[in-house]
């Protein structure tokens, strides 16, 4: 059953149409990844879903409520973790959580107990009395997530939760997202890290130039892109001349030299390894490794979106993995 239903959603900024009639749904209890390059319309869409931007046209239904007319009702059910850790510098970690809980009408005892519980769960119990400005980036991120879930939202919107933080904190945050989801929270996630989306998300929607170009499970997206079977061999010798010899011996396959000791074989048919092993043995080549190559989500994205790799935003920053 859909917990978020978006129908023909549009957003104009003057003459510019930032979101061009997108439709998708998110099922209750799933982690839904919303991916796309810079300026594709991800943030505008999240802003419209959470009440920070007004749609020009279209419908939003969240938890059965009209997400445009009844946005203040909807905001009770949702938690939002923006791409920037925007808590109050002057307040301590504990005070920040207690304050955020009060915005949702939680009583004093309840919000203090919940704040203590979350500080412990996020490994911040010892630093709860420190001002937010004294936290490291990773700690700030964790506290911002804690602030987003303190009122037990049914849906959590996470905008770039691991961007710009250290590997260890990013790993902890991913585990926290999985744990929240196991406990029933629906997660709407945007991330620049396709590997992160591949690991975390049940389903993914790709948005390019304000249009949703694909929505499906990660497995199905990968399967559809894998139109051919690929095997990669790593050898003890250089691959000079091998490409032509393999092509002659096995017509119908495509051979590609990856590096001095590595070649990749692709075929529309299933690849039997034994004839290749025999061929290499006959040519006095020892195989160190043979592996089946699966397409990555990045390749899927590039194929679906038809864009060049360098347009994938912030990819070069390399954090979060």
């Amino acid at each position: 059953m859909s917990i978020i239903e978006v129908t023909d959603l549009r957003k104009h900024y003057g003459d510019v149409e930032a979101v061009k009639g997108i439709s998708f749904s998110v099922a209750g209890g799933e982690i839904f990844g919303f991916l796309g390059p810079n300026g594709a319309g991800k943030t505008t869409t999240i802003n419209m879903l959470t009440g920070l931007a007004r749609p020009t046209a279209g419908k939003i239904s969240i938890c059965g409520q009209d997400g445009i007319k009844n946005i203040k009702k909807v905001q009770r059910f949702i938690g939002i973790v923006p791409d920037e850790s925007n808590l109050y510098d002057e307040l301590s970690g504990f005070e920040n959580l207690v304050f955020c809980a009060s915005l949702y009408g939680m009583g004093k005892k309840e919000r203090e107990a919940k704040a203590r519980e979350l500080l412990a769960r996020f490994g911040l119990a010892d630093t709860g009395e420190r001002p937010f400005k004294a936290y490291s980036k990773g700690m700030k991120r964790k506290l911002t997530i804690a602030a987003g879930i303190i009122h037990n939202p049914k849906i959590l919107f996470l905008d770039e939760p691991t961007t710009g933080i250290d590997v260890e904190s990013a790993g902890q945050i991913r585990e926290l997202i999985k744990e929240l989801n196991r406990k029933g929270t629906t997660v709407f996630l945007t991330t620049h890290y396709l590997e992160e989306a591949e690991r975390l998300c049940h389903r993914i929607g790709f948005i390019v130039n304000g249009k949703v170009v694909a929505v499906d499970t990660v497995d199905r997206l990968l399967r559809e892109t894998r139109q051919e079977n690929t095997v990669e061999f790593t050898m003890d010798k250089g691959t000079a001349g091998l490409e032509d010899a393999l092509q002659k011996r096995f017509p119908g396959i495509t051979v590609k030299e990856i590096s001095a000791h590595k070649i990749r074989i692709a075929s529309p048919e299933e690849i039997e390894l034994m004839p290749f092993m025999q061929f290499f043995a006959a040519n006095n080549i020892r195989i160190r490794e043979a592996k089946i190559v699966r397409p990555t989500l990045e390749e899927v994205f590039l194929k679906i979106a038809g864009i060049k790799i360098n347009r994938l935003e912030k990819k070069a920053e390399g954090g979060g993995k």
Partner: protein, 242 residues
């Protein structure tokens, strides 16, 4: 949503208004006005005569400075988004954000009174009326600060824009120069500014010397307050929930 209102107010008081620089600003500023006007000429100055002006000025500068800076600062740090995304109405949210500045303004107004109490006899003042006048000046000035905060995006712009209103008000609103002494062509401008009515109500409360009917001043201040508040919330919906 009473809890949200009180917690936003308490958070602002703790985060902004009770910070040492703001306390000192809140004290130093009214003290400076007081010293400037009361002690400058020894006994030559009619302290009771200028007390309403000094009080009005302290409220005006206290409220507009604080709100324009804190709102712009929170907006820049995006922590204001957190409030916009909370399930509380925009009107309640903005009332919570402005109440701290109103309290700060009222506190500022009574510091000159405290100093004056050591120098002159303050008997005969209608304190209830004076409090209502100060409160209305604080409300309109705060909402003027809100209007400025919503219209700009940088803290320095907020200060510059505030001064565009504040400094002319010192001369045009009858705080120290009676309206009848102003050039005739400037007087219509005076009657367009809300502080003229607040200062006149204060003069009436302290010295029974107002020149505008109290009911008219009350009406104009309430209308100005409501108008500035509604225009500011409309502007927030238009500019910040884009």
């Amino acid at each position: 949503m009473r809890r949200a209102f009180w917690n936003i107010l308490l958070k602002d008081i703790k985060t902004y208004y009770l910070k040492p620089p703001n306390i000192s600003w809140g004290i130093i500023f009214p003290v400076s006005w007081t010293l400037m006007f009361f002690i400058r000429s020894g006994g030559a100055v009619d302290i009771r005569g200028i007390l309403p002006g000094v009080m009005a000025l302290s409220v005006l500068f206290g409220t507009t400075s604080m709100l324009a800076v804190t709102m712009t600062f929170e907006r820049r740090k995006r922590s204001f988004e957190r409030l916009l995304l909370a399930p509380i109405s925009l009107n309640l949210l903005m009332l919570a954000k402005t109440t701290g500045a109103i309290i700060f303004g009222v506190f500022n107004a009574f510091l000159p009174v405290l100093f004056a109490a050591f120098l002159i006899d303050l008997s005969g003042i209608n304190w209830l009326s004076a409090f209502i006048s100060v409160l209305l000046i604080a409300v309109t000035s705060t909402f003027l600060g809100l209007f400025v905060a919503v219209s700009v995006s940088e803290v320095f712009e907020a200060q510059t824009f505030s001064n565009f209103f504040r400094f002319p008000m010192i001369f045009l609103c009858g705080l120290f120069i009676p309206l009848e002494n102003l050039p005739a062509f400037l007087r219509p401008l005076s009657y367009l500014l809300p502080l003229t009515y607040g200062a006149d109500m204060l003069k009436f409360s302290i010295n029974q010397a107002g020149s505008i009917p109290v009911w008219l001043s009350l009406l104009v201040l309430v209308a100005y307050g409501a108008g500035l508040f509604l225009f500011s919330t409309y502007n927030i919906q238009r500019k910040w929930i884009y």
